[in-house]
Symmetry: C2
Subunit: 283 residues, 2 copies
């Protein structure tokens, strides 16, 4: 997906939110804003938005001297959802269709995205999870299930911390010996890294690899050779979240994009309403 003009104000809003989260020093806020303005001024709009996201959060880390400004938030949401794991697990196993319930919860968990909303809180997460059980889906769970059952190598692209516990709940409903879970190579926003995979028990369940990149998405050119091999070898890719969608929507691999629609640009691009639950195959 290309970058829309509407992404431009959003980049600057994100940069300001992230700068404020990192430090109260307004000189750093101004420094970040001017640098981001300069970078956006020069950007190629044919590139996907996560490429600019990558630049923005590099600027934030450099200006603040903090290599992982979202560390506390990531830990908080991992702990919050882990504490609810038994309740959610029961919700899945006692439901009429555990696979479908697990998919719905995995999509709901995608709400924990600090790139889109700097004020997301635990009660919103709980509310979105409850809505997700009955909300109409944009896409077919049956088609997704068929693809899962016929796949030999599934690559599951994680997105955010906290959300990763919902990924674990879904993976527990998949033939997980076939699944590899991928995290970002370096901290960016509240995206999952290997630390989160360890902390939430995913590493005990499936093979976890990092993609070698600090983009808030999956920009293949930026990923490690090892990741690219796993990506190309997979016969099914489960891609969580908007950032992965934005960077892979033009790929010719067999990808199922599952996410919550959290901004107008992705709503327009996927022909979905804001707040929709999407499960879309690019084939």
């Amino acid at each position: 997906m290309k970058t829309y003009f509407d992404c431009i104000p959003c980049f600057l809003r994100q940069a300001l939110n992230a700068a404020r989260l990192t430090t109260a020093d307004i000189k750093i806020h101004e420094n970040v804003m001017r640098k981001v303005l300069g970078r956006v001024y020069e950007m190629d709009l044919n590139q996907p938005p996560p490429l600019m996201g990558q630049q923005i959060y590099r600027i934030i880390r450099e200006a603040s001297g903090d290599s992982d400004p979202y560390k506390k938030i990531k830990n908080k949401f991992n702990t919050f959802v882990l504490d609810l794991y038994p309740e959610f697990k029961k919700k899945i196993t006692t439901s009429v269709n555990p696979f479908e319930t697990a998919v719905r919860l995995a999509i709901a968990g995608n709400i924990i995205d600090f790139g889109v909303d700097a004020e997301i809180n635990t009660s919103t997460v709980y509310q979105v999870v409850n809505q997700s059980l009955t909300q109409e889906l944009n896409g077919s769970i049956e088609k997704f299930k068929e693809a899962v059952l016929s796949a030999n190598k599934i690559l599951y692209l994680g997105d955010n911390s906290g959300e990763i516990v919902f990924d674990r709940l879904l993976i527990e409903q998949l033939p997980y010996d076939k699944v590899t879970y991928a995290v970002r190579g370096y901290p960016v926003i509240n995206d999952v890294t290997m630390d989160d995979a360890v902390a939430t028990g995913i590493t005990k369940l499936v093979t976890v690899i990092d993609n070698g990149s600090d983009a808030p998405g999956t920009i293949l050119d930026e990923c490690s050779d090892k990741f690219k091999r796993v990506f190309h070898d997979a016969d099914m890719i489960i891609s969580k979240g908007q950032g992965n969608y934005e960077s892979l929507s033009d790929s010719n691999k067999n990808i199922f994009f599952i996410f919550k629609v959290k901004c107008r640009v992705v709503a327009e691009n996927t022909k979905s309403a804001l707040g929709s639950m999407v499960i879309q195959n690019n084939k």
Copy 2:
């Protein structure tokens, strides 16, 4: 008032909305966005936001070749409120306190601001007018009335088209032989110019001058000598809207700022909630 960092994403959002309103040509949209990014990158944040507003709408006019892109919108809202003039006039004259009712309607009319909201429509205007009759005010109408009664020369700074009809209704409750009404010198967003003053009958009621500037506010250094003389001679200034507030809040003249709070930055600066009705004296 200085420019807040939060104004930066808003400038870019405004530029995009205005570019889209002016033309469907996405090459022009991109041209506008890059130019505005470059201009914002260089801006002095100690200047008030309307100075950047002025730059943005100059870029829009230049890129589109349209010297008055909001002309249709301005005419539409002038006509809409003029059609309701008899109804609003009756609301004022039959109320317990006609002066207060006229002030409330004049503040409500300030909602017609295409800089803040590109999707404002006539039903919203009607709704805001009805709310305004009972909504709590941030400020004192009594103090405002005392100032009006003791003033010899009142300069009334208009803001938006459509809203100007509400200004007329308020001016009809003032000692209007003492009032001069000011409009912008050139078209910018949906701000009032001499055309609107003529079309809505203000010129038949009071002396109308233009300020010689194309800023969406009152930046004195940019105004004509004639306007500056009237400004300095006035012993009371009634300043409508956020743009006039943003550009004059640090003035040492006796100014009553009356407006609807339509963005978080002005809300913070005036210690008001979003949506508040403000009537503030800077003395």
